[in-house]
């Protein structure tokens, strides 16, 4: 069972939910928590894992041997990301734009292009209070999150309940995280921003054909827009979390909600059972 915790808008409580869900389930199930927000992984701040292993994430980028090159321009033409430019008798490469697809070297008629590894991040894993913890860390300044996320996913233990903490937004890193999930929980807040970004997130998971439900965080503030939207679209709101100073205080101290307020544990177990029922249905 793979559950991805995603959101359009940032700061709506993805990590709050994923850490509490993981800790609530760990006594009864094997649990993997995969922090796929590789630009700013923060689940570790709450779970304080003992890291026991790590590996480098590299992508293969082109190196052009100009003495073999006839400057035909084919490599530049086939590059979907404009990471290679042919100018008269020079070839320029832009490694930071390269997605590592290998089309340029594969299609070069002169075999003038080889590939070299470029380090873009690391994946770390370890144990966090009985939870298998994995996180990806994209090197600061790098733009290519999906290869790091895909490596995080390779380390998940299939027999576990896998909880993926997704990056915010709806772009490639989110799609890479959500891909292959059995269920997606979309976090939002009852504000016009929350609603706008929830709609984008809903469009994304519908396109990916993944069952989903909504959690509304900080209820009691804002307006009824999100609730009305969910009703109109027949989207199941699986949990609401009130705007509460105590919850915010715990979070700001790095305490997982279900540890600081154990009365929440049964609600997270219920949340899992609701998800399971939807997935099995």
């Amino acid at each position: 069972m793979i559950i991805t915790i995603a959101s359009g808008k940032g700061g709506t409580g993805k990590t709050l939910i994923s850490t509490s869900l993981a800790l609530s389930l760990k006594d009864d199930y094997g649990v993997t928590l995969a922090d796929c927000d590789v630009e700013e992984p923060n689940a570790g701040i709450f779970l304080k894992p003992q890291i026991s292993g790590s590996e480098s994430v590299d992508i293969m980028v082109p190196v052009v041997a100009e003495e073999k090159c006839t400057f035909c321009g084919k490599c530049a033409k086939v590059c979907a990301f404009n990471a290679i430019a042919v100018l008269g008798s020079h070839v320029l490469t832009f490694p930071q734009l390269c997605h590592g697809c290998g089309a340029c070297s594969y299609l070069c008629p002169e075999k003038a292009i080889t590939e070299e590894a470029r380090h873009i991040g690391v994946v770390e894993w370890g144990d966090a209070r009985g939870i298998k913890f994995i996180q990806g860390i994209l090197t600061v300044g790098e733009a290519m999150a999906p290869p790091v996320i895909s490596r995080v996913k390779e380390h998940e233990s299939e027999q576990d309940i896998i909880i993926r903490d997704a990056p915010p937004g709806t772009s490639c890193p989110v799609v890479e995280t959500v891909r292959g999930s059995d269920f997606c929980l979309l976090l939002t807040e009852p504000t016009p921003f929350g609603l706008n970004d929830l709609k984008l997130a809903v469009e994304t998971v519908r396109e990916l054909d993944i069952p989903f439900g909504v959690v509304i965080n900080r209820t009691g503030a804002g307006d009824a827009g999100v609730e009305n939207y969910c009703q109109e679209e027949k989207i199941h709101v699986l949990m609401t979390i009130p705007l509460d100073t105590e919850i915010a205080r715990l979070y700001s101290r790095g305490v997982v909600l279900v540890e600081g307020m154990p009365e929440w544990k049964s609600r997270f177990i219920q949340l899992y059972n609701d998800i399971k029922e939807k997935v099995d249905a």
């Binding site: 530049a76 404009n82 990471a83 430019a85 100018l87 008269g88 832009f94 734009l97 733009a143």
Partner: protein, 121 residues
């Protein structure tokens, strides 16, 4: 010798587009004769590397200078080695900009004036 200007439209009455790689059009003009053509910028909606692709296309046009609002490092690193002067911070009606260029009111930029991905919406 011709120059290229990033443009919001297809005539000299339109304004300079503030973005280089993701501008709507390029106006290629000979400032002496004011003869010009426009080019749709095929890179304006590129997923990535719009500046590189636009710059490569401009290099193929054999211009001596590019006038634009902002130019990022990737585009600059294609244009500059190709011997094309890059002039940034340019704004206003294209016809007026060409007059200013002829009178030598613009100074060549020695580096990109914005970071990569600046014009990406």
């Amino acid at each position: 010798m011709k120059i290229a200007i990033s443009a919001t439209g297809t005539t000299l009455e339109n304004d300079v587009d503030a973005r280089f790689g993701r501008c709507s059009y390029f106006i290629i003009v000979d400032p002496e004769t004011m003869e010009y053509e426009y080019i749709d910028n095929a890179s304006s909606q590129a997923g990535g590397g719009a500046g590189v692709a636009a710059a490569q296309m401009i290099v193929g046009k054999g211009v001596e200078a590019v006038l634009t609002g902002s130019c990022g490092p990737n585009a600059y690193n294609v244009l500059s080695p190709a011997g094309i002067k890059v002039i940034t911070g340019v704004a206003g009606r294209i016809g007026d900009v060409i007059e200013d260029y002829k009178e030598g009111r613009y100074k060549e930029s020695s580096e990109a004036n914005v970071s990569a991905h600046h014009g990406k919406s």
